[in-house]
Each structure stands twice: as C-alpha cells, then as structure tokens.
C-alpha cells in the first residue's frame, strides 16, 4: 500500500517588506523590482494572516469569523493569496 502525503499550503509573506500604512490600506514598495502595490483593508488582513501558521482554509475561517460573514470567502481568499504570490509579496507555494 502506498501512502501519499500532501503538504499543507501555509503561505508566508516575504521578510522585510517595505510596508506603509495609508488611509485605504497598505502601500508596499519593492524598489528592487520597481514595483509598488496598494492593498485595501480586506487584502491587508489576508496578508497579515500569511504567516506560515495558517493554511488557506484557516485564513478563510478567520476572515469569516472576524467579519461575521455568513459564507466563507473561500474564492476571494484563495485568489488574493494567489495574487500576492504572483506579485512577489507572499512566498511561492512549496
């Protein structure tokens, strides 16, 4: 019998991000990449939960509970994490 083990995806934001707080959320500068990113409040919370301790379903659950949402925002969280990875703000998946 073969046992297949799947690693749980626990996203983590990059170390040393240049984050500035603004009225609308975070402004993240990546001068080495010539990039600047604007995150609104909801994206800020998701980014802060990308700390290697939470899986994407756990992030979804925390966001749902924190905002008292009736439905888990599964798709929005997954897409946001993917976008953060695509933009080099969160480490790539293992």
């Amino acid at each position: 019998m073969t046992t297949v083990t799947c690693a749980v995806d626990r996203p983590k934001s990059l170390e040393g991000l240049d984050i500035s707080e603004s009225e609308g959320g975070y402004i993240i500068y990546q001068p080495d990449l010539d990039r600047v990113h604007f995150l609104n409040h909801s994206a800020v919370v998701i980014l802060e939960l990308c700390n290697r301790e939470n899986s994407i379903p756990e992030i979804t659950g925390l966001v749902q509970q924190a905002y008292g949402l009736t439905e888990p925002p599964e798709q929005m969280v997954a897409e946001t994490v993917a976008k953060l990875r695509e933009q080099g703000i969160v480490e790539p998946a293992d």
Partner: protein, 196 residues
Amino acid sequence: MEQQGSKDRILSKVDASRRDFVKRVLGVAAFAAPVIASFSIDGLSIESAEAQAFPSGPSGCAVDTGYNGPVHYQAQLADPSGATGVTGEVNFTVEGDNARTGQTREIDTKLSVTKNATVLSAYISVNGIDVANFPEGQGVIGTGDVQRICDFDALLQAMALEQTMVVVQGVLGGNAFTITGAIEPKPGETISLGPQ
C-alpha cells in the same frame, strides 16, 4: 464572542509595529472584495486590479439620493517610501447647482508638486483603484470622468467618508516618484449641498 476571538487571534500574529493599524482596520472596516493594485514604478501604469472599487450594475449601486457633504477638500502628498523628498498638494472644489437640485456637476482640481518635478499621472483612488484622473495645475473631473465606480456621486460619497486617496506619479531629476495622501475635507468645512 467568536468574532472577537478571531480578531484577537489575527492581531496576536501581526507585527507589533502594525498592530494598531490592523486593529483599526478590523474595528471599523466592513469586509469588501480584496483589492491588490500593482504598479510598475518604471512604467508608471496600473497593471492589475482584483476587483472594482465599488460593485457595478443596478443591484450593486446604491440609489442616488444626491450629495450632502463638504465642498472643499484637500490632500497633502508625500512619498511614503521616503526615497524622495517630493511633496505636493491638491485642492478639490465640488461645483454644481446643488442648492437648487441637489445635483453636482464637476470637481475642480488644483494640483501642485515640488518645483521641477514632472507629473506623469494623477488620480483619485478608492480602495487602491484609480477611479478618476486629473492633470497637474488646474483641471476638472466631470460626471463622465469616473471609472470603476458606480457613478460620480459614489465618488463624492467616498470623499465625504474619507475613503479616498490621491496618487501622483512622475519624475524628478530622472528618478521616478510616487506620492500619495488622503483626501480630507478642509478644516471647518460644513457646507451642505442638498438633500441627503
């Protein structure tokens, strides 16, 4: 109880230097579609946006009841990265025959930046999304100039609720810069513009 527990758990993992900010975010802001707007500083162009600043379509837009809020706004602009010393200021004046009809017609803009700096783009953002562009010096944002937001009044309401920012990108001495600042009613601004 569960809701507060989740917020506490989130806050316990946030870097101490940003905890107060995230606490405010969790305390006052309702959950909206997450938005990540990414720019190439070099290219000075918006490249992506996850969602619209406000939902569009008949079901997503509030019924327009007219505008009731300040007439004069301002934004003090600075480079949040601290990489440049470029600064700027924008003044906004909401114009229209509001007293008679409660309808607004345009926002007059006046943007000034550090001497010798060249402005390549300037816009008002809501949730990080460009919703209205305006030029350096004097300009006008008309009712047909808003984008990715329900309508002109939605922009005015966002400004009145202090949910808007100005983002200005340009070059100075061959170096690109981005300066930003929150749009706020001018101090003492209490003028009412019509029915709410």
